[in-house]
């Protein structure tokens, strides 16, 4: 049954698929050609989504900066050192995404370690 106080629960929904009632659409599809050099295989995705990636990372940096502005400096100072220690092809892919978007490589790595870190 429905519950109108937090946490909100409701009756099981029916007939939602493929309605747009609770969806804003379907995402685009891109090919990642594994035969290409890892440094350039993400270029097509970044050509279309680079600005969105930058906006998201800028927002994360703002959140971090609100806690401590020095933390952002640490990201750019120390995270790039980690990239070169990543296994192939992940090291080259992160550098390639950084190059394609103009975003600091440490900041691209920051995005990629979210899931590891947030288990705390």
């Amino acid at each position: 049954t429905c519950q109108d106080v937090p946490p909100y629960t409701e009756d099981c929904q029916h007939g939602m698929y493929p309605s747009k009632a609770r969806s804003t659409g379907v995402p685009p599809t891109f090919k990642i050609n594994l035969d290409l050099d890892p440094q350039i295989r993400w270029n097509e995705v970044m050509k279309h989504k680079g600005a969105n990636v930058k906006a998201m990372i800028d927002q994360v940096k703002k959140l971090i900066s609100d806690v401590s502005p020095q933390l952002v400096d640490l990201v750019n100072k120390y995270l790039p050192e980690i990239i070169e220690k990543l296994p192939a092809p992940y090291d080259a892919e992160i550098l390639g995404i950084s190059k394609a978007t103009g975003i600091e490589d440490g900041e691209i790595l920051l995005f990629n370690i979210f899931y590891e870190v947030f288990t705390m």
Binding site: R22, M46, A55, T101, I113, T119
Partner: protein
């Protein structure tokens, strides 16, 4: 997150998930949404990884994120990764890794490695169960043959628990949120009970993309953190993704 592997009466497997992310990372007071979840919406992309012009595996990614949280090797297996909250968490693994202990794999690189290298459901399950990783997680794996569905609960160093479906015993689905399946979820974040209630209400005679999408569209399985819903059918190689929006009133997680 909520991941489901379900089998219909004909033995066809379906694997689906809601990806929830962005908790406590900024609240948009104007729109009453999580800031980072909103920024992630336009980053959702379907990816088709090819070699020699042929699809090797398909994933749903956030642009700029090179690991795999949702993916499928057509005809072979599908997988999803859910966060597992633990004091012995990923930040410890990350610190160890930075300090030079690099035997552990990054959790979402391991899933990509599994899609790349594993050629069967069993190989994928073995790889995801027995490889040392940086953070505790749940790996949810579905196969191409009846009965192939499991939740792999992982610590950083070892396998904690394996929970497999058993359709011949009436266990025709597995459902994982972000809590160990042998304990009760906390009262403030119980997506498991409504998810199981709705899925059980559907029954295995009616399970398909439509009905699983309905389950994943029901609040609080669908919540303010949900960025996308992915639906996978391995045998057909079908992967459908929908960017989600949770209209108010909608619980924050």
């Amino acid at each position: 997150c909520t991941s489901i592997v379900a089998q219909d009466v004909g033995g066809t497997l379906y694997h689906a998930r809601n990806l929830d992310f962005g908790l406590f990372m900024g609240w948009d007071t104007k729109n009453h949404t999580w800031l980072i979840a909103e920024y992630l919406h336009p980053l959702v992309v379907n990816l088709d990884f090819t070699r020699n012009g042929t699809t090797v595996y398909k994933t749903v990614n956030f642009a700029g994120y090179i690991g795999v949280l949702t993916g499928m090797k057509p005809g072979v297996f599908s997988l999803t990764l859910n966060e597992r909250f633990n004091v012995n968490g990923g930040y410890i693994g990350l610190i160890e890794w930075i300090l030079g202990y690099r035997k552990a794999h990054w959790t979402s690189f391991l899933t990509r490695d599994a899609l790349e290298k594993s050629n069967s459901y069993e190989e994928a399950v073995d790889m995801l169960s027995n490889t040392e990783i940086l953070a505790p997680v749940y790996y949810i794996v579905g196969g191409s043959k009846p009965g192939q569905g499991a939740i792999i609960t992982r610590d950083r160093q070892s396998l904690t628990n394996m929970y497999s479906m058993a359709p011949d015993k009436g266990m025709w689905y597995v459902l994982e949120t972000n809590y160990d399946n042998w304990t009760d979820p906390p009262f403030f974040d119980d997506r498991r009970t409504p998810g199981k209630k709705c899925l059980s209400g559907v029954g295995n005679k009616k399970v398909d993309f439509q009905t699983i999408y309905d389950v994943l569209s029901t609040k609080p399985v669908l919540n303010q953190l949900t960025t996308y819903t992915a639906l996978m059918q391995v045998n057909k190689g079908t992967l459908e993704t929908y960017i989600r929006h949770c209209p108010h009133p909608c619980w924050a997680w």
